[in-house]
């Protein structure tokens, strides 16, 4: 099976559908829009399709991956549609800004490609930009050797490198299971899997479980693998500190009460040379925000793009699918993406999408949403994480802003919300633009003001008009003028066959 290495752009003109992101939702959106007769540009920052979920290396046989058959099916469809000239798969195309095309219908994606600025236009757009690990700060979390769980997984699946010899995996959510098992299968010693919640809470939601038996089987398989590799699975525990001088050499693990405060006397020190930590995921919605798409606070505390039954956002012609509409996993993302693609293609053609296909996809989406709705109830983030912090614990890693400065911005300098706390303390104003500390900053500021974080607090941490670094030189030079794309003039670039 060849792995797509992308297409080369030529000529000028607009595509029927722009799809941003080639993960589960984006692949499904692009292929279903193409099947619906649309010309599609699939824009992706990476060199290979699959997104973070199906991140892989050339020659990967799928071992250790999840839902690999679904990826192979989508990749096969992508190759067929590319060969038929209906999809231009544009790799190394990171969208840094999305806007309505000035003075015309449709949308313009501003892209960094090979260090230069470039524009691709479409009559409709499907935003499928996925999510990244959500982080909670704790003392020592900036030490080298402390990684995000997704980062450890990306190293393993994308690079074939094991993050450490003796690893502690910590945080909350079902994603920690494959991370721990993957590390053990690759030869690392997993010192412990530390889950802040009690996943047996899933048993109190039998309907969601019964309608998603594959999810239960998946979890059971991981639990068997944990036992096989003798991994100590601690639930209702958290890594509350990492230790070391120039890199991590140990963590402190504590038992948590119902609000995630440390149970006195429960501290335990575990030696390790790597920590993989994640507390769920944060949807990446800045491109939808560029367009002014309405967003709302989801049950898990993230800001997500609001969509209707056909995955349409509040902006005419703009659709969203997958984790950008709420974290729910790859199967839900594929169903949402396929629906968005079908409806986007139909909107361009002025037709109605195939009723049978829509009904099947809507059923699948409904079934997966039942499971997604349960996730924040079983794997929530409780407020007690704030009690793990010391005054000098850094919240913002980029600008090196400690907890005391974020709290002080509210209690001492008069900031009223996350936006004010950010301006006064510089938390979230560094290179990552608040992607890593946004959640924590919003909650710490709100708590210092004596209230819960609101959608406005979170919203002030997701605005990124320049979503990907672009040099001032490239910006000044402007978009490459004679190098835009039309579907008919797009030619497949080099193919790299896999072993």
């Amino acid at each position: 099976m060849p792995t797509s290495n992308g297409d080369v752009l030529m000529d000028t003109g607009a595509f029927d559908v722009l799809v941003i992101g080639a993960g589960p939702a984006g692949l499904a959106a692009a292929t279903s829009a193409a099947r619906g007769g649309a010309s599609v540009a699939l824009l992706d920052a990476a060199m290979r399709p699959g997104g973070q979920y199906w991140r892989h290396r050339d020659g990967d046989d799928g071992r250790g991956h999840h839902d690999w058959d679904a990826f192979k099916r989508l990749r096969g469809e992508l190759e067929r549609e590319r060969a038929a000239g209906r999809i231009a798969h544009l790799v190394d195309h990171a969208v840094w800004h999305l806007e309505r095309t000035p003075g015309a219908d449709g949308f313009t994606a501003h892209i960094v490609h090979a260090g230069a600025d470039r524009e691709v236009t479409g009559r409709t757009v499907v935003i499928a930009t996925g999510a990244y690990d959500r982080q909670l700060p704790f003392p020592g979390w900036t030490l080298p050797g402390v990684f995000t769980a997704g980062g450890v997984q990306a190293l393993l699946k994308g690079q074939g490198v094991v993050a450490g010899r003796r690893v502690v995996v910590a945080g909350t959510g079902p994603f920690l299971l494959p991370v721990a098992v993957g590390l053990a299968e690759a030869g690392a010693e997993v010192a412990s899997l530390v889950e802040a919640n009690n996943p047996l809470g899933m048993a109190t939601h039998p309907l969601a479980a019964l309608r998603n038996l594959d999810k239960l089987a998946e979890a059971a398989g991981y639990l068997r693998a944990l036992r096989h590799h003798l991994i100590l699975y601690r639930t209702r525990h958290a890594v509350v500190a990492a230790h070391g001088t120039d890199a991590v050499d140990a963590v402190t693990v504590a038992r948590l009460d119902a609000d995630w405060r440390v149970v006195p006397g429960s501290l335990e020190r575990i030696a390790c040379d790597a920590v993989a930590v994640g507390y769920g995921f944060t949807p990446q919605i800045e491109l939808a925000d560029d367009l002014g798409c309405a967003a709302a606070l989801d049950a898990d505390g993230s800001l997500v793009v609001t969509v209707d039954a056909v995955q349409r956002t509040s902006v005419d012609g703009a659709f969203a699918a997958g984790e950008t509409c709420g974290v729910g996993g790859a199967a839900l993302a594929v169903a949402e993406g396929a629906l968005a693609g079908l409806h986007a293609a139909a909107a361009v053609a002025g037709t109605r999408p195939d009723r049978t296909a829509v009904t099947r996809l809507e059923r699948e989406r409904a079934r997966r949403r039942v499971f997604a709705a349960v996730m924040p109830r079983v794997w929530p983030v409780r407020s007690g994480w704030r009690s793990w912090l010391a005054d000098d614990t850094l919240v913002c890693r980029c600008e090196e802003v400690p907890v005391s400065a974020v709290r002080g911005a509210v209690t001492g300098l008069g900031a009223l919300d996350a936006r004010g706390a950010k301006l006064f303390s510089r938390a979230g104003m560094g290179l990552c633009q608040g992607r890593v500390c946004g959640y924590a900053t919003a909650h710490l500021a709100a708590a210092a003001a004596g209230r819960l974080a609101t959608a406005d607090d979170i919203a002030s941490t997701v605005k990124r008009p320049i979503a990907w670094p672009i040099t001032l030189g490239a910006l000044a030079a402007g978009p490459i003028p004679d190098d835009r794309a039309t579907p008919s003039a797009t030619v497949p670039a080099r193919e790299e066959s896999t072993a």
Partner: protein, 96 residues
């Protein structure tokens, strides 16, 4: 997870010769040889290395062939690259 069948490549990290698999990122190549940090922060001068691994956190910035602030998690090693620990913003030439 079989590795691509291409010969390993060599590069330099702070003057030391290192090897990497073809196609590997700088971060992966350094971590595979036990190097965990390759930057010191601007304010406190603290060591940093890989964190998010997917290009969003900007913690893994490194100087490559004299160019500062490349993301080690996204930048593939090229044969003969000179990779150097980045101090602060990596632009001491512009400071003072």
């Amino acid at each position: 997870m079989s590795a691509p069948e291409r010969p390993p490549i060599t590069f330099a990290f702070d003057g030391r010769e290192m090897t990497a698999e073809a196609g590997q990122t700088i971060a992966a190549a350094l971590l595979a040889t036990g190097v965990r940090s390759w930057r010191t922060t601007r304010v406190e001068g603290r060591p940093r290395g890989l964190f998010c691994g997917i290009g969003i956190c900007f913690d893994c910035l490194v100087t490559v062939n004299g160019e500062a602030s490349r993301r080690a998690c996204l930048t593939e090693v090229q044969p003969g690259d000179r990779v150097e620990t980045q101090e602060g913003a990596g632009r001491a030439d512009l400071e003072r």
